[in-house]
């Protein structure tokens, strides 16, 4: 058996590595660097009901061991994605996860339904945690009842497994996870970015035009690990873990903390080949740490 394989609802992954939503577009650009069939899965950029232009620029800023972004869910709309973007990715031997967002529950439902008939999309990642849009997004992600409601409603209309993407900007992450578990989520995806800000000294103003942005990268890894560890103790759902992963050791840390698979976001910007390199390194990192498979590593630090 393949020591890297993981089976999750809707996802038969040859390895647990996937690029994170928003950090890989729809795969096209990175296909110039390596064969996307090497990836366990690809999580696409967020899809909304209709096209969105996103926020004004500057949209990104570098921070210590991380970055801020406020792209603002720019995307060409769900129909365009299904028609123009999914077919390209479908050519590769990898699973496809669609990240869906909206300003209203109805928009979430509409986007989720649109993916019902695209055989190439294997699961949905329900983005209730985007900090960069005025409406929708994060308000669903910081209130357990709202999170449960949108999960339940999307679950009702969708034929695909739903991974709810949790926001770390909350007092009680376990309460959020329990709420969406009760509402029928098939899995969790965590964490999205932490809301942050940088002041540009010369202009004395927030550097990001949207003022705040989402903090990602190695800086947030300890927070991601803590939240996954906590949630794993209380919730039975599989977890796609993310937040600052840069190498195969980081992947193992997430697996031990309770992630069943992982997504790599910001690190693609520091090295476009990072996912491929992590996949290549992972078997050896497992072995050096006395583990024979990814499956064996999952949750090892939690259940002892």
């Amino acid at each position: 058996m393949n020591e890297l394989a993981v089976v999750l609802p809707g996802l038969n992954l040859k390895n647990p590595i996937m690029p994170a939503s928003g950090c890989f577009g729809f795969g096209y650009e990175y296909s110039n660097f390596y064969d996307l069939s090497e990836l366990g899965a690809v999580i696409m950029k967020a899809a909304t009901g209709t096209a969105r232009l996103g926020n004004p620029t500057p949209r990104v800023a570098e921070t210590a061991s991380g970055m801020l972004n406020a792209i603002g869910l720019q995307n060409p709309g769900v129909n365009h994605i299904i028609e123009q973007e999914v077919p390209f990715l479908a050519e590769y031997d990898t699973s496809i996860i669609a990240n869906i967002a909206g300003s209203t529950i109805e928009e979430y439902e509409m986007v989720a339904e649109a993916f019902n008939d695209t055989e190439h999309v294997h699961a949905l990642e329900l983005n209730i945690s985007c900090p960069n849009v005025k409406e929708g997004g994060i308000q669903f992600g910081t209130d357990p009842q709202m999170a449960a409601k949108v999960t339940e409603r999307v679950k009702r209309v969708s034929k695909l497994p739903i991974y709810v993407k949790l926001s770390p900007n909350v007092t009680d992450i376990v309460a959020m996870a329990k709420a969406v578990e009760a509402a029928g989520a098939d899995g969790l995806s965590m964490i999205n970015t932490l809301t942050g800000m940088q002041i540009h000294l010369p202009s004395r103003r927030p550097l990001i035009a949207n003022k705040t942005g989402g903090l990602s990268g190695p800086a947030i890894k300890p927070i991601a690990i803590r939240m996954i560890y906590e949630v794993k103790q209380h919730v039975d759902l599989p977890i796609i873990g993310m937040g600052g992963i840069c190498n195969a050791e980081d992947v193992l840390e997430f697996l031990l903390a309770g992630a069943d698979a992982v997504a790599v976001g910001t690190a693609n910007f520091s090295n476009p080949l990072v996912c491929k390199e992590i996949i290549a390194d992972l078997p050896d990192v497992l072995k050096r740490n006395g583990l024979s498979s990814v499956q064996e590593a999952i949750g090892k630090a939690v259940f002892i």
Binding site: G25, N69, I71, P76, F269
Partner: protein, 250 residues
């Protein structure tokens, strides 16, 4: 565009806080066109630093970049020594379109750290028998660089904000004085580019734009510029950094 290792074969300061670095790399030197850039990836820095290609020596596989130290990344870059290697994506973006300009007159307008890509362009145009005029703007005398190199390929005018070197004023002040030209190419701070495109409206022109970048390859949508196309935007890193003056909204 590929991820490449480039070996530093020379590095020196050429003006106030401004450095010239010569890098050896086959893939980039063989494929780069004027206006393209390197997206430099440095350890300890999450994001790449886009730096224009200022010159190429195809025969010796040498890529020249010129950069100004403005923050942590360029500071670090200035500390690298001969023999060390840097990682970069390149050649990145789309350069200035190579049009049939033979025997025509082309105006290059560079401002500050927008001057570097103008040099490689001017050199290539001169080789193609184009009549090249260059207006280069700098803050003060101590910021001026590459004047002699430009003199060899173009009729060159220097302006400084404070008149401490060349003419006093902005590059736009000279637009009326350099005579006729068929087409212009410009790179520099956004207010300068805006002033130029406003003044030269109707003229065929190409502008090179800057924006803070995430991925540098077209995937993250950090570097948008509103555009007159169907989607309403273009990506500076992959659709640009060079655009025709009419295609984007600045």
């Amino acid at each position: 565009m590929k991820k490449e290792k480039l070996t530093i074969i020379a590095t020196k300061q050429i003006a106030k806080a401004t450095f010239e670095m010569k890098l050896e790399n086959i893939h980039i030197s063989e494929n780069a066109v004027p206006g393209q850039f390197l997206h430099i990836l440095m350890e300890g820095h999450t994001l790449g630093r886009p730096i224009s290609i200022a010159d190429i020596d195809k025969q010796n596989h040498i890529v020249t970049i010129l950069f100004k130290v403005v923050g942590s990344g360029t500071k670090r870059l200035a500390e690298y020594r001969v023999g060390q290697q840097i990682d970069a994506l390149g050649p990145s973006g789309n350069g200035f379109p190579s049009e049939q300009n033979e025997k025509k007159t082309v105006l290059l307008i560079g401002g500050g750290i927008g001057v570097p890509p103008m040099y490689y362009l001017g050199k290539q145009l001169a080789e193609q028998n184009v009549n090249v005029i260059a207006i280069l703007g700098f803050q003060t005398a101590e910021n001026v660089f590459y004047e002699e190199k430009f003199n060899q390929v173009a009729e060159t005018y220097i302006v400084t904000d404070d008149g401490s070197y060349g003419e006093e004023g902005f590059v736009t002040d000279l637009l009326d004085q350099v005579g006729n030209f068929d087409c212009y190419y410009t790179c520099g701070p956004l207010p300068m580019i805006k002033a130029i495109t406003d003044k030269l409206i109707g003229k065929r022109g190409y502008i090179s734009l800057e924006e803070r970048m995430g991925c540098g390859v077209g995937a993250c949508l950090a570097c948008m510029i509103p555009a007159n196309n169907q989607s309403g935007y273009k990506k500076i890193c992959s659709d640009g950094p060079v655009f025709s003056a009419e295609e984007v909204i600045i």
